[in-house]
Symmetry: C2
Subunit: 487 residues, 2 copies
Amino acid sequence: MRWRSQNVSILCLLVWLSLGLEAQSSWVPKVRSWITANEQPVMRELQELLAIPNVASDRANVRKNAEHLRTLFTKRGFSVELLETPGNPLVYAELRTPGASRTLLIYSHYDGQPVDPKGWQQPDPFTPLLRDGRLYARSASDDKSPIIMTLAAVDALKAAGEAPSSNIRVILDGEEEAGSPSLVPAIAKYRDKLSADLMVILDGPQHSSGRPTIAYGARGIARVDITVFGPKVGVHSGNYGNWIANPAQRLALLLASMKNEDGRILVAGWTDGIAPLSPEEKAMAAAVPDDAAGMLRAFGVAAPEIAYPRLQEALQYPTLNVRGMASSFVGAGARTIIPDSATASIDVRLVKETRAEAMIEKIRAHVRKQGYHIVEGVPDDATRAKYPKIARLATFGDGTDAFRTSPLDPQAKALAAAIRQATGVEPVHLRTLGGTVPISPFIQALGFPAVLVPTVNFDNNQHEENENLKLTNLWEGILTVAAILRM
Amino acid sequence: MRWRSQNVSILCLLVWLSLGLEAQSSWVPKVRSWITANEQPVMRELQELLAIPNVASDRANVRKNAEHLRTLFTKRGFSVELLETPGNPLVYAELRTPGASRTLLIYSHYDGQPVDPKGWQQPDPFTPLLRDGRLYARSASDDKSPIIMTLAAVDALKAAGEAPSSNIRVILDGEEEAGSPSLVPAIAKYRDKLSADLMVILDGPQHSSGRPTIAYGARGIARVDITVFGPKVGVHSGNYGNWIANPAQRLALLLASMKNEDGRILVAGWTDGIAPLSPEEKAMAAAVPDDAAGMLRAFGVAAPEIAYPRLQEALQYPTLNVRGMASSFVGAGARTIIPDSATASIDVRLVKETRAEAMIEKIRAHVRKQGYHIVEGVPDDATRAKYPKIARLATFGDGTDAFRTSPLDPQAKALAAAIRQATGVEPVHLRTLGGTVPISPFIQALGFPAVLVPTVNFDNNQHEENENLKLTNLWEGILTVAAILRM
């Protein structure tokens, strides 16, 4: 029964996904022709933007970027403002469409990761280099090219005699690589400018299949270091071994109590509030063309976690990941002691139903349930004398909550349909990204739906040396953004 | 029934322990007087010996020590030889006693730990400093003063008109702090010189009660680092969290499978061959005047391991101690990844029944039983593709086996009785030390009983800065060694 209803659901989803694959809009060939004819000026515009250094802490150059962007958007008829913040300015550009009943807020960021030229195969990461169909420069993919795609899409539509079908608002962040500290505070001051029916985040890499990609959410993150205390100072493992308890062993037992051999998390209430995936959601996950075997081979791993054999389903649930562990020394320099403490650094990837603070609280309750007295700082003598098991939980900031928009949201559906119709390809639908985007709190504070439309190649060396953009992604990206403008 | 027989046994032991407490030998008052009268020359002799630097790697100065010792022993009528080795020489001194039916081999070492003068409260650790009844210098306690005690004991007995009751052989190690690499190889060449009925090791600190101490054994040690492998390189904890297994979590589960919350070791066969302590042995352990509460307070620990609430009983069993752990980073520098590997460094303190190699093999079998494929080095791609769980075990040398002499051995009993009679104090009897002595393999290779008679103060800062000897320990030590010579 269950099997039958699930299969019917998958069928419905596939029907829904393929709706409209046939009907390509009439402006598409014109936009494609424009792109082919205008590769040189688009490239020039991108290269000029990339030539302005954009490390968030380099405030003078970041402002030059903002001024340059003001010019570029003004040229297309946007009304532009630099929204000042305590940090770098937000570039705000608006293009009103008479009679439009929908407002889109397009988000990209114009700052980039720090650079260390040593690792680059070109003298200067801010002097773009074209090689083998890719443009190499800092921010070539993350995230200046989506800005150029937006500008070119406006130009291309105009040349095709088309205008956007929505009011377009563009917000360009100058501090994304620094965690976007100014976005949420800006809402209080600029809420009227920032309101819309759908936020479209043009950032991040496409699915590795190279198909157009829509991500309807991103997991959040919370971080906590758990330290188990042993003797005040490391004591001789011979003189006291078997008698003084070992904090590294206790930490191992504590971690083992939190997650089992299958990768199943045992902390009470860990998945509270998360409904099992519906047949539609399962079908959506199953439709993602992940090359699981290839990924496992690349990572050198024989098999995934038993609890979550499918990647896309694994990403729908919160994690409990030991990202680091430390206690005294290992290797040739190890000392024969019972260490004074042992620490595990944990990150928890959150989903929409599991908020950062609540998850840290569940971990705290779990640690208590294992018999630990929890301290702040370092336990004093009286505490040490009273409690046989002592631990500390140190969090790093408040964490970042997840966001997730329903793929059945009318605006999200319209966007998906527009991309499908324009490109002639069924987009890859990701119910959520596994990672975390700093824009999450901004999305939640604004309170309207948001989707990510990543357009750059997955192998773009984002954040690393030799960051690059595949030019085919640039050209397809212009079409994708045009579709969004025309949705 | 059991209770009654145990109490009878304890009674027997106490009777045995107190036998002869009344009968003090006639030479004792004379030796005590000699000591009082000769504090100055004994101190001078010790200070002269301490003034010769003795770090094992400083071979020129170490040889000066050996030559100086040759002179000191020759002066007392010993026939002395420097036994050459590939490393530093062993100083061998023999004093034959006509008609003696017993031969004692007295072991001390004349090398010392490296020094860093910065931490010392005196300009030069090799210029002894007398302060508050203690002599501060490198090797003041570890282990030059027992050599001076031996020389002074011979002088004192001679002045009292007494000769040793045994043939006395003295072997002085010049590489103890470097692990005594030359001792076992020396046996093949010098076996006739090194044979005896009992080895008496004059090294290490007395029990903290300050009572004369006899240790009948010492635990051994084996070391192994266990590394659990994850993905080839650390992978993004968001993109792959819940799907790619975490090696730090797996290591925690592995360690948790090896030892439980109570401190009980779960590795199969861990205590095979170890008979439960007999009532006599339990009584012996119970008679050790450990200040458990004081130690726990000093260490800042509320309670000992549940499996081994009594220190002296805890030391009778092999340990499994996580001396260090490492995986990626913790704290503010932690990265949000699933790490590529996680390592626990383990030391196993051995008892006589559990040999180093066999215990490592038991750990290896345990790891296999948990589903791990064990590799040498780093797993290659084919291995990674084949085995879901991969671990490496790296040992550090062959380990050092334990030694233990029965307190009921006739020679050991005679030694205990002699010390008891001379000092008028019941010695502290330690069935085994918790720690490991590098002389263990030498004892086993020689094959005759051995006991440790530590004579220096427990708070001597051994191996550290400001190493010191309490002068009262020097004077009582001379009497103790005289008792051994007269046993």
